[in-house]
Amino acid sequence: MASLAEKRMEDAEDHPIDQNTEVAARPEELRLLEALLFASAEPIDQATLAKRMPDGVDVKAALAQLQAEYAPRGVNLVRVANKWTFRTAGDLSWLMTRESTETRRLSRAAIEVLAIIAYHQPVTRAEIEEIRGVITSKGTLDVLLETGWIRPRGRRKTPGRPLTFGTTEAFLSQFSLEALGDLPGLEELKGTGLLDSRLPSGFSVPTPSDDVALREDEDPLEAGDNLELLLAPAAEPEEGGGS
């Protein structure tokens, strides 16, 4: 390969660089072709392009020249199924994605489930439903898992070996808690007026703990445990019929 300096010398000779003269040298049909191809909603075949060109234009040669011109650019002239179209260069596909963050509020149901998991962890889906008195949809758990604030901890050593859920460190950081024990207890909840002070004596609020160590009645998750599959059956209980 020629050195850069040599190459530039050649360039200077072959291609009088002055912009204006270069412009004049560029055949008009290239302008027409690029305008047509740019504005067209679909790729165009050579015959159709030829019909729109002035007489005597070698469309094939012009397309080849245009293709060569655009080859190093961010936009390339490509032939797709024998039709021509402009496309952004393949190596720039990373540029063609836009990453955005959208702020979403958790649904009421999701917040409730999250709160129950926080206070009652490790807790199974059935236990959550027992406390809430309603079925928990798969979507709600999915959203909570997506937040990264809850995680499946293990499996309860009971028939069916249901998953147990707990909160994560991300949960603590989201709610500015130093430790899970900072969640207010019964008396504090009453003190803030969130709980009615006339609740029956049997009412208790557990002292929450997110200790990573499994409880006695918990088994570890198995390597092959697939969350999608784990959550799915319970979401369509009518299908499962048992297990």
Binding site: A41, R98, A115, I131, L189, V205
Partner: protein, 275 residues
Amino acid sequence: MTAEILSFETGRPAEITDGEPALVVDVEGYEGPLDLLLTLARQQKVDLAKISILALADQYLTFIEAARKIRLELAADYLVMAAWLAFLKSRLLLPEPATPDGPSAEEMATALANRLRRLEAIREAANRLMNRPQFQRDIFPRGNPETIAEIKHPKFTATLFDLLTAYATQRQQRVLATVHLAKRTVWSLAEARASLERLVGMAESEEWNCLDDYLLTYVVDPSQRATVFASSFAAALELVREGEMELNQKEAFAPLYFRKRPPQAAMPAPDMTVE
């Protein structure tokens, strides 16, 4: 949508060679009296700044006369302008009064010329604007834009307050709902008294009977024990006061006995104190 270039000359009368507006009676072609005046002014073929307003007023009035002769409906605007021009014309022809009230005739004429110039200027501007290459008519965007894929990263928000409120509300609702459903039946004093009266009446003899035993036969649900006992005791005291029955108890917290009061005078059992 695009705007089409429409010549302002469209539908206008051809240039009049002799200054005689022989055919110019179609008012439909004009956008109001100012437009008509501007067209007439152009026939003077001079800069609008130097136009003879007097001549223009004459042209306008001639036009209006011609239109009226063929009984053309003229909008009021045109007639108002005619009246004003006639007035202006007379002012221009007469010598200026020594102390003019309002603007002088010259000033009025200049103002009219300026209005015409302004209308002409804006039309020229509109023409130039419309002659620009227009989007989607002359110049085009990318016909087949490529989608820029959007990767959304949801960021969830929830506050500790939301969390605690949800938890407290949820738990409380469930608990209060439970209490509500299991609402205890309370024995009223009347119920207790009626029961005791039946008991006393049923007792064949005047033997002492244990109140607790009787109560237990009534009380199926242990949770009702307290209310039954309390009401029965209160009712028993009432019956004793009325002289219907007697109670005795060996010591504090010992079983309580009752019997129908014998017909004769009170005969307290030995070693027994009536509560």
